[in-house]
Symmetry: C2
Subunit: 410 residues, 2 copies
DNA sequence: GTGATACGTTGCCAGAGTCAACAAATCATC
DNA sequence: GATGATTTGTTGACTCTGGCAACGTATCAC
């Protein structure tokens, strides 16, 4: 129970303004006064401090049809960036994401085999070193890592990443030592929620459930009462291992009858006669929608009914506003949305399911980069007065490795 | 995203101090200084304001063995009270609970039949009117109602209380109109969590799950990341309707194979040969522990295994610090704690279950009164500067209806 | 009794947000 | 194109809050 003093007050107000322009996009000063309830002069002073610190920029006002003096637009800076890292079985992706939401660059480093933690650190540090030589005028806040596995929130230790074969790897510490930048790590699915919550299908929601279907299983995360649920040690969100069936079918953790054991991408690919290596999420969805095979419909129905058991349980316990489905679960849902809705309704309390939306994830391939960057930005958003000593050069957008200029909607 | 101004700052700090002494018990000024990080002079001023408002009292310091000037003890007032109301099928209970945690009075009004909402309001208002004639020197903050059913958080509308046969009853509004006091209502199980969280088995926990087994079903609530989960409309916590079995056994809501359908007090009473009307929670627990009947053991094992499915699901999704079991579920757990632990461990991810405690609820018969009072106190705790116009006389403790002086540990 | 220790009290100070008056920039109207 | 209405930024005086340091006070140990 920390008390609040004057410094905290200023910090809080700076934090609120920076969060607003970062999360909800650019806003005029007049809008900020209305949103925060603070005085015009206060907003002026706060924005001036943020400009001074290089965190936001003021643009000339949009031409509006209203009478009155135009209000300058306050926007999060493009020059303040976080580095987002996502190690996978066949590649390591590094993104440069700006506070404004723009994904400046996206570098994919393909690996011939699944990297060890040490290799992943070396490769990532190498990519970042390459970037540094090129960097100027940009301020790097820190590094966020999206790990496909269980990550201890406390210190970023990767407890278990089955897909990569990592156990108890101090990934965060290693990368911090190798780069000298602050590093934060979290489970990829929980970062998916973060991204969808702020910039995707969950915008403005305080209670949402997110389930992501990947090739190796089902993960997810949740936001409860406006707070991202981490749990005791950051392991919350493992929807894949909820029991939904009495069958003996085991999942990757050896538990029988779980969601992940019954609802799989591989089973869908098999009835469709598709190869995993050639099928991305969109292809799968198109194939499911195009198919008129009875076997496909039966498999879709079977999987949807099991998914409904898990979702209904979550609805009863959490009474969310929205359930966001990503990965192949989005495709599965798209194949027969009504069946899923009806099945969840049948298995949950009417009052609790009342008004719950089931929606596909909106952010595509940038999902994890945005989520990981958000993780790295958090420290800055909490305290915009933090001294950030790490500023590196990054001239224009002439990348050395591989450039994917991209952005996500605000 | 509300900004914070000077008034908010003061309010926050007053709120923090009042919460501390209310929730964690009396503390010396010196302790408050350390806990809040605020300056000694600030604490002095804040405590003085709270004393001025009659919310806290300063007592002479405890004799301590330390050198130095003794620090006055700051304690929440006994004279500031909330009225807690709990309508049930055969009685309406009203409690007078002080900010200090003392339950001054407890009045149980037995009804010959299950009361309608209007009757419940009339009876409650009558009891409160009787109290008012007697009241002096006490300040009544408001009324909190613990309703055995679904309550819409928004306005306290009782959507559905199956046990009482109520549907869409504006209980809160009616009682507010009848008494002129502010009224807040919530689901009884979710108030149970509140009580256990602050004063019982969940003290200091930020992630806890609470399941309560009652005669008519299983309800519960959860705290996620330090926030009580209400959900979109306050219906969160319905653990009873989670599916745990493939059987066709239906629960009160008509859903098959749910926790509430498989795990029931009645089934335990039946194998024990006990009558519901004569068996309270303690009796049930003693009978279960004393029994050496194979049928009883089998039924206990069957129910524990189903309970484990629900708990494992919750563990995987929420990664809590503690699972608190109340009502007959506490008795069930006590009958074979190891079996439950092992079964939950087998059905959940090792990392997520690691360190999770399963504990019985600590607060007994005062649970709901304390939870309901806490609900009513919340407005005051949020803003100790709130003008409270409602002060009524209450001379000594000479009750007119039925008095149960009692208190709960702090 | 004396010193050490811990804590409350007091008066002064700095910092943050508020307020009101004024200036500036736009639109609508004549 | 001048005028007024409207909205908003700017400025300086003001208020309130917590911090700080010096001082006073109450206890313990010797």
């Amino acid at each position: 129970m920390q008390g609040t003093n004057h410094d905290d007050l200023r910090r809080r107000n700076l934090s609120i303004i920076l969060r607003l322009v970062h999360r909800s996009g650019a806003a005029s000063r007049a809008q900020l006064t209305r949103l925060t309830g603070l005085n015009r002069s206060t907003i002026g002073a706060l924005v001036a401090e943020l400009v001074e610190r290089g965190l936001v920029e003021e643009r000339t006002p949009d031409p509006t049809k209203l009478a009155g003096r135009p209000s300058p637009i306050v926007a999060a800076s493009d020059r303040v960036v976080a580095l987002a890292v996502n190690p996978e079985i066949d590649a390591i992706t590094v993104g440069v994401v700006a506070l404004s939401g723009v994904v400046h660059r996206r570098i994919r480093f393909a690996t011939s085999s699944s990297p060890t933690a040490a290799e992943a650190v070396a490769i990532t540090a190498g990519i970042i070193d390459d970037l540094r030589n090129d960097l100027s005028e940009y301020s790097i806040i820190g590094i966020g890592i999206a790990v496909p596995g269980l990550v201890r929130a406390f210190d970023g230790l990767v407890r278990h990443a089955p897909h990569l074969g990592w156990v108890d790897e101090p990934l965060g510490d290693l990368l911090a030592a190798a780069t000298g930048l602050p590093v934060v790590a979290a489970n990829d699915a929980s970062l998916g929620v973060t991204a969808e919550r702020y910039f995707g299908a969950g915008q403005g929601m305080t209670d949402l459930i997110y389930l992501n279907g990947g090739s190796s299983g089902i993960g997810g995360g949740l936001v409860v009462g406006g707070v991202a649920a981490g749990g005791r040690a950051g392991y919350a969100g493992e929807f894949g291992h909820i029991r939904v069936s009495a069958s003996g079918q085991k999942d990757s953790a050896g538990i029988a009858g779980t969601l992940e054991a019954e609802v799989t991408r591989d089973a869908l690919l098999e009835v469709l006669g598709l190869r995993a290596s050639e099928t991305d999420a969109d292809t799968l969805e198109r194939a499911l929608l195009a198919s008129d095979s009875a076997a496909v419909h039966a498999e879709v129905a079977r999987q949807l009914d099991f998914l409904a058991v898990a979702l209904a349980g979550a609805v009863n316990v959490l009474n969310p506003q929205v359930i966001v489905l990503g990965g192949f679960l989005a495709a599965l849902h798209a194949a027969d949305p009504d069946r899923l809705s009806r099945a969840v309704a049948a298995l949950s309390l009417g009052t609790a399911f009342d008004g719950v939306q089931i929606a596909p994830a909106l952010l595509g391939s940038n999902l994890l980069l945005i989520g990981a960057a958000e993780l790295a930005f958090e420290a800055l958003l909490l305290d915009p007065q933090l001294d950030r000593g790490n500023t590196f050069a990054l001239p224009a957008l002439s990348a050395r490795v591989a450039v994917s200029p991209a952005s996500h909607p605000h």
